[in-house]
Symmetry: C2
Subunit: 123 residues, 2 copies
């Protein structure tokens, strides 16, 4: 297993079961129609459990002050190898109306409950 | 809650319960004697469960080819607010001898078992 097999190799920042957070960042996000929605800007971890709680999706372009993110519960994402990105298990219409947070999200402690309620995912 | 309270505010990339992966990266790592060991270069996520499995600790300096990381099982780290970094719950001596991986770790699929065995943490 010292050498990668052609076609079956993985990048240096992942293994069969693991992926680097830095590799997740920048990955494209699609809705269930296969339309590109943006890309993952960062991943939020639960401090105590070490569980990935949210991927923050940005809408492309430079992230200046006031720009918004879509926090996507990790459970609602699955990786599509054909698309080479994450698909959100949510209708495109509902995804469009999903809660956003600003860059200053630390000052809005209620956002995670709002987001999970919207997606129907337990906190 | 639009404005931070002095002394009680958190950075924009964390909340009381959540922290951005990008914020974990670069955080200092100490041994149980309080000696600085390096800093977190990246975080490895379990693809299926979304659980943080390892923090990859680097030893400072520029990460060129051939440089090694210490993969630290997430369960062995705790955050010390006094030190402002993570402490590894392992004796400094054992930590020094802990398994390292190279940047090409994808081509060495056995490393996670080796690391977990060393630290006595179930996979």
């Amino acid at each position: 297993m010292a050498h990668a097999h052609m076609g079956g190799h993985v990048a240096a920042d992942e293994t069969a079961n693991l992926i680097a957070a830095s590799k997740v960042e920048g990955t494209s996000v699609y809705n269930s129609d296969g339309d590109s929605m943006g890309s993952i800007y960062d991943v939020m971890l639960d401090k105590s459990s070490g569980q990935v709680a949210y991927a923050l999706m940005s809408f492309g372009g430079f992230l200046g002050m006031g720009e918004n993110y879509h926090p996507l519960p990790w459970q609602k994402l699955h990786y599509d190898t054909g698309l080479g990105g994450y698909v959100v298990d949510e209708s495109p219409d509902r995804l469009k109306k999903a809660p956003t947070i600003t860059r200053d999200y630390a000052h809005d402690p209620g956002w995670s409950r709002r987001v999970n309620d919207y997606y129907g995912v337990p906190i």
